[in-house]
Each structure stands twice: as C-alpha cells, then as structure tokens.
Point group: C2
Chain length 314, copies 2
DNA sequence: TATCAGCTATAGCTACAGGCTATGGACCAG
DNA sequence: CTGGTCCATAGCCTGTAGCTATAGCTGATA
C-alpha cells in the first residue's frame, strides 16, 4: 500500500478536511482527492466520510490509519537503524516443530555468517509449549499461532497457512464412504474420522475448535509429538491435520492423500512474538528480519500465503 | 524512505546481484542500479558491496535491510488491519510526568470520541516509576526513555528530545562566572552548578550520566517530583535539566533562563513500550497510533525532533 | 599475464503517475 | 434563497522511474 497515499489519509484525518490537509502538505486539494480515491479503490471501501464542512475517517479508515501510523513513522525513522550497534549475544528462538526444518539451514548458515557474534539457539515444540516457554522467559522470540490467547506480545502477523487433512493412501475409503471425493472436505466430516491430533492446548486443536470441528473422542488419538503423529499416519492408523509447511515431505510421496479442509479454507495465522523479558535489541531485530525473509521465501514457493483481508470485495 | 527502493535492496540482497534481482522483480537491471544509487545517496553510505560476481549487503546495508523488512511486510499486510474488530476495553497508559499535559486533552477528547468503547486510564510518574510499573504489569503501554535497561518490550522509537538546562533568571551569574555566556553549555559545567534533579533510577539522570555529567553531590538536591523541582527552580534554589517538552511554560515566561546543553546537543530517545502481560490487541494498536499522532504534532511545533541517524554526512 | 565472461554503471529516451489550474456541483449557515 | 465553503472532475504538464544500448570494471582461467 502506497506510503504517500497513507500519509495523505492521515493528514486529512488530522486536519479535518481535504483543503486544509492539502495546505499543510503543501500541495493542491485535487491531488489529495485523487490519491484518496485510489486508496479507497484499492481497499474496496470508503475510508473518509465527506460532510459539508470537510471529511472524517470512517471506521474502516480509522482502523487503517491506526495500523498505518506506526509503520509510517518507522519508515521515516529508518535512518536511525544505521546507528544501532552490530547484533551480538545469544538469542533463543522457539518455533513450531515442523518449522525447524525450514529454518535450521538458514539460521545456522546465512545468519551465522552475517553476524558471527550472534549466537542463536533454536528450540522447537508444539505451539502450546512454545507459548508457555515464551511467557516463562525461556525463549526470547518465537513463532506462534494466533489462535491461542498469549500473554506475550503479539508483534506481527507473519503469514497464513492452510491446514490440510492427510492420511496414508490405504485410508482413502474413509472419505469415499462419506461421499467426499472432491476438495474441500467440510470441517464437519472430521467428526466421522479416526483422528490423530495433539493435545487441546496446542494451536492446531484450537484452530480446529474455532472452526467448528468436533472430533469424536472415541475416534481420537491425542499425541503430542509430531514425529509420532507422522509415524502413526504412515502406518495408516488414522487421519491428521497439519499446516501445509509441515507436509512438504508427505506431499512429495505418492503414498499419502492430502486434502483441502473447509470452505473457505481452514487457515491459521502465523505470528511472531517477542519475550516479555527481553528488550528489542539489534540482535532481536536481526532475527526478526531473518524470520520475515524466510517466510517470504516459503510464500514464494506457495507453501504459505500472505495474510490477507478476510472480506475483500473485488 | 521510499518503499520500492527498500524492496529493491532486499531483492538484491536475496538474489545476490542486480541482474538476478531485476529478473525476479520483473524489471530491467539499470533501473535497480539507479534506485540503489539514490538510496545510497539518501543514507549517505554504501549499502551494497559490488564484487565481480554480483553484490552483497554491507554492514550498513544489512542493518537497514533488517530494520526495513518488518515494516515492509507490515505495509504489505495493511489490508488485514481492516478486519480487526473495533477497539474496546480498558488500557492503562503510563507516561513521563510532563507529558501528561500534552496527552490528556487528546486522549480523553479525540480518542474517547472515536472509540467510545475504549476506556483509557492515564498514569504519570517519573520514567523510573513508569518503567517499574510496566514490568509489574500495572501498565499496559507506556512512554519511556531508552536510557534505562527495561525488561519490557521496547517497541519503537517515537522521537528525540533535547535536554535543556534551566533556572530562574537571578541565577544567571552562576554561568557568567564560568564564562559560559553562549550556547551550548558543556556537560562538564554541570559539576560546578547547584543542581536539582530526580533520583538515579530515572531516565534523566541516566542520560546525564551516560553523557559524562557528574554532578557534585554536595551541590545536588535529589527530588522525585516534577512539581517540586519546578517550585525549587522558580524560587531560584538551583538549576535543573528537563526535556524541552517539559519546559513549554517556562520557555514562555521571561523570568527563566533556558540553555542548550552539550555539543552535540544532549538528547534522550523517547520510546513506546508495551506491557509483557498484554497481547497486541486492536485497543492497544489504537492507543499506539494515537501516541504516534500526538508526537508528530509535538514535532511539528518544534518541541521534539524526529529520531535521526546520529552520524549523517550531508 | 592476457583474455573472456559476467556483472554493474552511465547515457539517453519514453511513458505514466502524480502534481497543478479551472471549474462544476453538493452542502450548510444565515 | 443565497453565499460561502468544500470536494470531485477534467485536462494539462512535469518529473520520476522505467526501458535499451553500451561502456567499463572485476575475477576466473588458460
């Protein structure tokens, strides 16, 4: 979203009208009219309510303005980042289990090489554990799902991931019996399947719960180990649900069935959170930037999606 | 700083060269060359190290890239802000004493009006106390000086402020005797003056200490109350040091002397920090945005400065 | 050391985004 | 009803950021 257009929006909000804002910004009023028109077109809804004596932010406009302001001042102050000292020291990074494989290489390769004085300890676990460790101060920074109420700072949305239903090929008849031959499989169908899932406290279960999935307790194996879940699924003992990034290996093998889940697709938001016990040091900033870069790479490979507005018009 | 230029920088860093990055971005290589040249000109230092086989980030470039990446993804994901629910609930905001006068009006006026369901409690105190309350979870969000080691999240730099030395006019001879008729007064001169300052644990004292100011204990009154400091100074009992924003009243009256302090000017960075005990809710986002807007207004009035790179060439 | 391949910088051109002026039309106050 | 204030639209103009072509540099290799 364009910087100058957002600044225009803020200026109009601040000065209460196009004309006054234009004067303050040192440009002509019609220029602002056009910029705002384009911005409103981009987001697909009105951002300003024009009344006879000027203009005020609509509710959408207000939220956009609130979200944009810190980013814009951040951009304006970027030069000061050059004064920060070089990242150094230890950073303990917690990630959901399946992400460690995507991260390990670049963390101990690129990042280590760039900042030799920066020592990173990578810890993985189910997101419930990660969350807990973060609030306990055992982690400095972590990747989490937004589905859990965290006492830590939810700093930013990193990406969105589709959740996929999967099983060994020999279980194909489970769905065929239900008449669920084509994607997506509705969430309600989970109640009929033999499922292998982690415990309630983990983000995955919460996301499923929020989406209205109610696994039959009689058909549910609760297993808090990704490796174990994989093994059980491989042996055809049931179905499981995991984010796409966790299933790159399974997607490559022909012996698995991977099915889209829910319409609209069932998704979780991946957030990055910073420990309460740690200031935002240059070291953390470097790790944060690296996580962003890594996620961007996964997005490019189609494994994750950019977090999008849920209700977009056009 | 321009968004597309920063994206160019990131792309080159990622792909290891202008040509490959240009291909990835879908544009021609010379375009990138020019954008980067302009960016480097803007920050006044080289950001990329060109070697025969491509280009790599310099240390400055790396830090800029690290700082920019989260901002850029934030901008790219702005549309999702429109989906956030309306801000509501209680937020406890802590600010340094002297800032409450600049804030109170707009907090309980504009912000209250915009979000009727958002209830803000404003707490002020010396920054040492604010810091402590924040880590204890008594505050949700706070404005602080960066000079203290905080266990809270240092989210962002808001602004910089000059520290001014001031006293009642009748104490002018203190400086005249030292031959300090013209600005700025060197920091070392503080050792010779009768000073009235808050306790060691407060940001102001730490900033002075870091700048090499060593007040003579025999000439120092330690007073942890802004009102009391003001009164004492008004009665001519000594000199004090406060940020410019705290001295708007004194600046208007003719009976005070206000002097610049230190060369380069002695400054403190104003940060905004979020409580460990609170997630980044829409309510907090709204307050955060409001603080940014308020600080921008103060900057426009010349009371605060934008945080700038310390060592700028041109 | 000389050569070549691969990369970036420079020069000059073009096009479009974003600025401006002029003007029309809506809205509110008196 | 009328005048004033304000935003939207139309049409023009300029500057920026894109493009192609080419020069110049660098590092690898023979």
């Amino acid at each position: 979203m364009d910087q100058t257009r957002l600044r225009s929006l803020l200026a109009i909000a601040e000065h209460g009208g196009f004309g006054r804002a234009a004067a303050a910004l040192g440009l002509a009023q019609p220029s602002l009219s056009r910029q705002i028109a384009l911005l409103e077109q981009e987001v697909g809804r009105p951002l300003l309510y024009r009344h006879g004596r000027g203009a005020r932010l609509t509710e959408d406009g207000q939220r956009l303005a609130d979200a944009a302001r810190p980013l814009l001042t951040g951009l304006a102050n970027l030069a000061s980042a050059l004064d920060d000292p070089v990242p150094r020291g230890q950073v303990v990074l917690g990630v959901p289990t399946f992400m460690s494989v995507h991260l390990a290489g670049s963390i101990f390769g690129e990042l280590r090489q760039r900042y030799p004085q920066l020592h990173i300890r990578l810890v993985d676990g189910f997101s419930g554990f990660i969350n807990q460790w973060l609030t306990e101060g055992r982690l400095d920074i972590a990747i989490l799902y937004d589905s859990q109420r965290s006492r830590a700072i939810m700093a930013e949305v990193l990406a969105e991931e589709d959740l996929l239903l999967f099983a060994h090929r020999r279980r194909a008849r489970d769905l065929r019996g239900e008449g669920l031959e084509q994607d997506p499989v509705p969430v309600s169908a989970l109640a009929e399947l033999q499922l292998i899932l982690p415990d309630q406290q983990h983000g995955l279960r919460r996301a499923l719960h929020r989406a209205g999935a109610h696994p039959d307790p009689a058909l549910l194996l609760e297993v808090d180990s990704l490796a174990a879940i994989r093994t059980l699924v491989e042996h055809g003992l049931g179905w499981s649900v995991l984010p796409r990034a966790a299933l790159t290996q399974e997607a490559a093998k022909r012996c698995y069935i991977l099915r889209d889940l829910g319409a609209p697709p069932l998704r979780v938001r991946l957030m990055v959170a910073v420990s309460p016990a740690r200031g935002m040091t240059p070291a953390l900033r470097a790790v944060l930037a690296h996580l962003h870069a890594m996620v961007a790479r996964l997005q490019k490979r189609g494994i994750m999606s950019a977090p999008a507005a849920r209700a977009r018009q056009n």
